[in-house]
Symmetry: C2
Subunit: 314 residues, 2 copies
Amino acid sequence: MYFIGIDIGGMSIKAGIVDETGKLYVKKAIPTQPERHYTAIVADMAKLCHTICEESGIDIKSIQGIGIGSPGTVNGAIGQITYSCNINFDQVPVVDELRKYIDVPTYVDNDANCAALGEVKFGSCKGLDDAILVTLGTGVGGGVITEGKMLVGKNGGGGEVGHITLKVGGRKCGCGKYGCWEAYASATALVRQTKMAISRHPNSLMSDIVAKEGKVSGRTAFIACRQGDPTAMAVVKQYVQYVAEGLLSLINIFRPDVIAIGGGVSNEGDYFIDMLQEYVDKFTYGGGNNPHTTVRKAQLLNDAGILGAAALCL
Amino acid sequence: MYFIGIDIGGMSIKAGIVDETGKLYVKKAIPTQPERHYTAIVADMAKLCHTICEESGIDIKSIQGIGIGSPGTVNGAIGQITYSCNINFDQVPVVDELRKYIDVPTYVDNDANCAALGEVKFGSCKGLDDAILVTLGTGVGGGVITEGKMLVGKNGGGGEVGHITLKVGGRKCGCGKYGCWEAYASATALVRQTKMAISRHPNSLMSDIVAKEGKVSGRTAFIACRQGDPTAMAVVKQYVQYVAEGLLSLINIFRPDVIAIGGGVSNEGDYFIDMLQEYVDKFTYGGGNNPHTTVRKAQLLNDAGILGAAALCL
């Protein structure tokens, strides 16, 4: 069985043909040109579907379904992208519009939810009914699968896990609230924390790394930490606490089997994951009396958007 | 149709006969004697069911179902109370045991989840598919109904909303974690905050109230705040922030139609509820673009335990 996954981003729209095992046969991207009217964008999406079918030699009539992942608030039940701040989307009936061109079962959901679904269907959380994906990138995003079902909240307006409170009265977040998890646990926040530590401790090994690499990145503190630099170790320890305390909020609410960590910071691998696991094991509510939650690295990486969107069809 | 709701507490076990509209016909309580083996406790629960039927003249054969609310971790799917720290419960097959005495469909869930279900079936959130009950009492408890279903988490181990992080690295909570919402937003925490404010500002009107009432209570700061005492106003304002920031975490995850506030502090009524509403409206993610969450007072009060347990049968 073949499905098409479409991953709408602010810069580009990617689409690929995926089978029920998560094998990706072909993928292609086009520019989003997000300022256009949605009818023009959806017309391009339809063309892109035809193109990837032609290029792969898969007859479009054999496509069983199309899944669409979009940034912003999505009301999947009515096939609508309610709102996105990066693209000119305001109550866009994307499913109905795309079916004007290709009449197969079509689904839409928030891209972070799609990515979580992709991990459950094809990746790090395969086969699990209770799993959460948390992505540590520019912001903190994620999706929650609980008791076999994707949590979307009323009209798709929930699931904003990056905007739970981590520090009451804390740092202002891009969303307007203060002290959000995203303001402390994103890769962006890690870069800020690293810069601040370097400015206070210019003799740290991190200064050498920055000189060599030309900039501070989310990797800077981790590289120096692995080499035993005490300032970097303090940065990483603090960052682990920020990430882990948000994970604990999610664990105490959802008690998932697995929390998968995605986004750029997850490339630190087991070194980072093991520190998170140790922290959450120590402080999970009910300790040993409750089911254990495993923290692990997400698997789908670059194609997560396409695979997750296609997973909506399963 | 008649159902029996059984509310197990550390001190007493209450049971009542309830109909499908939430009308309570009779109720009665017996001491729990929590140190006993569970078979003795369940035998007493069965006797209590017979007693309330006899006293109300309702034939036990006309009882359509029994619902049980218990503190601690409950695995409703297998009818088991997994663990409770206040009662001698360790993997108690309460449903099977009670059905030895009264063979009708029998259900069990965590008492806070039952209370939330009661609000949805009979109380402040009647008919809603997306609602959360938060109780501000000795601790902070609650239950989440999302898309028409009670959130219980893997094996019933989730839903511990009082133990989401409010202040990373903050005050130690009874659960062993630091900075939990419960450590700042419970009535217990409000009393502590009030005492601290009085010790710093002994000339506050609150000192007079304490002298008259003989002790600091969760009401002390609210009484003085309503009379314009600046120290009390600061206590209430801070407490509202603590409560509201936890509500915001739940709203951003679940986007419910309503959050109902129960527990002792909710008796402050609209004065308190309006302050919470104003705060969460200001900081909810996505603001006006997302569905609105209304904060209101819970309705079921004293009989919430019985009504909520009975609601498990519906």
